[in-house]
């Protein structure tokens, strides 16, 4: 009886997915994003971008429809592994888009790799994600690049020679970026006068602030997420610590300004794109449609999500539309050349699967994100 119920359950599940797959000329693409859990906000943003991108260009060149199936990974590794496994073996997808965070992507990647299904992450910036793989690619640049861009900007453009680095100890994103910044900054001739640690749920930075004050660096590099940066800035400014704060793409969210208020004015960060500094014609088109549909500007997650979709679409077109094999799609994803995407011109290194593209530097001025410059690789 028990077993019968299980078989029934399996049958039910497979039936539900068969029911959704009645188109003939289509390529199935699985999307794995955190729609619930702690990083749900990023996943939802990326999904908005992907959905809009699909409505802009729903078919490949030969008219093959791209059929997207979204599965929630709940922002967990187990969830990602299960979702990837399900999309491959039950839904028979030919390509995967996802996941958002590097660690989730890495939990799903071995399964995609084993089944020879290409997987492209929109925003996993950790270098290890694609290391040693044949089928894993990404639409974004990697952490060492971002950290180095920040270091160059501080040293060459701001002409500051000393820095304190604030590391969020429990985020591999923060640890990786800080590591890259320190390395690049020292190489340029700058000096890291102190390193301070904190945790992601931390709300009190007064202890770190007092030590930073004693060291008196010229800038503070804090690769973290918007909430921590906003709270840190508020407290730092209250205690009279007024050095410029630099950050990575995690800073980019309206909540940074809402939470930080005046204290975050001047916060400068490296990121993937700026809606006001159109890099390609596609940027303008995407930003306009996004504004029309969601009544707001797209953030980096949405733009990168869209780019992941466009890269896949482009690869499907080249690989022969609905007849494309996963292997062929993977070949064309990894051989993406001079692709004019939403976030700029994208090249993917066929050997590593990493995107080579420019970074944008943005700054908070009077409660608004303002474009500063673009740094080419």
């Amino acid at each position: 009886m028990k077993r019968f119920l299980n078989i029934l359950a399996v049958a039910l599940v497979s039936f539900m997915f068969m029911a959704t797959s009645s188109y003939s000329k289509e390529v199935k693409v699985g999307v794995v994003l955190p729609m619930t859990g702690l990083v749900a906000a990023f996943g939802q943003s990326a999904w908005k971008g992907i959905e809009l991108a699909q409505s802009m260009e729903p078919t490949a060149k030969d008219g093959t429809k791209i059929h997207l199936t979204l599965l929630d990974n709940k922002g967990t590794k187990v969830g990602t592994a299960n979702a990837v496994s399900k999309l491959i073996s039950s839904n028979h997808v030919k390509t995967l888009i996802g996941a958002i965070t590097s660690s989730d992507t890495m939990a799903g990647a071995p399964i995609a790799e084993r089944h020879h299904i290409p997987m492209i992450s929109s925003s996993a910036t950790n270098p290890l994600v694609t290391k040693g793989t044949k089928y894993i690619s990404r639409a974004c640049f990697i952490d060492p690049f971002q950290g180095a861009v920040a270091a160059k900007y501080v040293y060459n453009n701001l002409h500051k020679k000393t820095a304190t680095v604030m590391i969020e100890r429990d985020q591999d994103y923060s640890v990786g970026l800080a590591h890259a910044f320190i390395k690049a900054f020292k190489k340029l001739g700058g000096k890291v006068v102190s390193v301070a640690f904190f945790q992601s749920t931390d709300q009190d930075y007064s202890a770190q602030i007092s030590t930073i004050k004693a060291k008196n660096p010229e800038v503070i590099y804090m690769p973290s997420y918007y909430q921590e940066i906003a709270l840190f800035c508020r407290q730092a400014r209250q205690y009279g610590l007024n050095q410029p704060v630099l950050a990575g793409d995690g800073a980019e969210a309206d909540a940074l300004i809402k939470i930080g208020g005046k204290a975050v004015n001047g916060v400068t960060f490296t990121t993937h794109f700026d809606p006001h500094a159109a890099a390609t014609p596609l940027t303008t088109k995407f930003v306009n449609l996004y504004n029309k549909k969601y009544k707001q500007n797209p953030d980096a997650m949405a733009a990168l999500g869209a780019d992941a979709y466009f890269i896949v679409l482009n690869a499907v077109s080249k690989a022969g539309g609905y007849k494309a094999t996963p292997k062929k799609i993977n070949y064309y994803i990894r051989h993406t050349k001079n692709f004019k995407g939403v976030t700029g011109v994208i090249n993917i290194n066929p050997k590593t699967g990493n995107a080579i593209k420019s970074a944008v530097i943005r700054k908070v001025v009077n409660g608004k994100f303002v474009y500063v410059t673009t740094v080419n690789p």
Binding site: T36, G37, L38, V39, A40, A41, R169, A196, F197, F198, Q199, T201, D202, Q203, D204, S206, A207, Q208, S210, T211, Y226, Q227, A230, L231, R234, Q235, Q238, Y239, G240, A253, A255, K258, I259, G261
Partner: protein
């Protein structure tokens, strides 16, 4: 470390400690009367923050009205939680009630995640609480000064209620022997409701001041302060209101001072309260206020 910083950190620690104390009182009172660890208490504090934000941002109330409304609404929520979830289990095994409490906690967290999303929301800090005071070059945020004053004021009011009013007497009696009190004709359910109302009211006060101190709130924000407040309640001697307040001060102060004096330990900050808890259980299970756990009192 110079004197200025130490002074700043001292004020900081006292102010954080008074927030833990406010939340700890709710744990201690509920445990005192119905012997239940109310796991949802930290989340009730979180709900208080969201009520206040909603009052200011969505209902355009002046801040004091929004705060007051939030405190009252949160108190009512506490009563509601007790009536719906805990009361049916008054005579069931202890483990049933505890599991239900965890269920309520998880429910509140996830309900608010669904309604407000996981993105941290900015808490609009009224300008009265936003500034800093500069005393001869030593800077204190206003909020760090105001918080302990408010906390002590509420503590005094609560002690007055407990010791000088009929209801307070009933509450204290209840923690000794519920059945006898019932036989004596006291409306036990109403008294328990009042206990939940007071605990939740103070949690909302703690929550609102927490949110003004760290103005980014999310639906999971109540977990850590809740846990630390519980440690504070145990440290002070669970069941004792004064103990909860004192325990809160001890935990808050030590958390801030240890990090300030030994920066390499900063990463372990959230583990301190837990270590306190283990040490108290090992060496002085009755807590600072030192009374027998099996006898009720406030």
């Amino acid at each position: 470390m110079d004197l200025t910083t130490i002074l700043q950190q001292l004020v900081n620690g006292i102010s954080l400690g008074s927030l833990y104390g406010l939340v700890a009182i709710g744990y201690t009172m509920v445990y005192g009367v119905i012997r239940l660890i109310n796991f949802a208490h930290g989340d009730i504090m979180m709900v208080g923050m969201y009520f206040a934000v909603t009052g200011i941002v969505a209902m355009f109330l002046p801040w004091w009205a929004a705060f007051l409304l939030s405190m009252v609404a949160t108190a009512l929520l506490g009563v509601l939680v007790d009536r719906l979830a805990y009361k049916p289990l008054r005579n069931a095994s202890r483990i049933s009630a505890l599991i239900t409490a965890i269920g309520v906690s998880f429910f509140l967290e996830n309900l608010f995640l669904v309604v407000f999303g996981g993105v941290p929301k900015a808490f609009p800090v009224p300008s009265v609480f936003g500034g800093v005071i500069n005393v001869n070059g030593v800077i204190f945020p206003n909020i760090a000064i105001i918080t302990p004053i408010i906390a002590i004021a509420f503590l005094l009011i609560l002690l007055f209620i407990l010791h000088k009013t009929k209801y307070g007497m009933a509450m204290r009696a209840l923690s000794f022997d519920m059945e006898t009190v019932r036989i004596m004709g006291v409306n036990v359910d109403m008294i328990i409701s009042i206990v939940f109302a007071i605990g939740s009211f103070l949690a909302a006060v703690g929550g609102i001041f927490w949110a003004m101190r760290y103005p980014a709130i999310n639906p999971l924000i109540g977990i850590m302060p809740g846990l630390k407040a519980f440690a504070a309640a145990v440290l002070g001697g669970i069941g004792s209101v004064m103990g909860a307040a004192v325990g809160g001060f001890v935990i808050g102060l030590s958390e801030i001072l240890i990090v300030a004096l030994f920066p390499p330990l900063a990463g372990y900050k959230d583990a301190f309260a837990f270590l306190f808890l283990i040490f108290v259980l090992l060496f002085k299970p009755t807590g600072i206020m030192g009374e027998d756990l099996e006898r009720g009192r406030f």
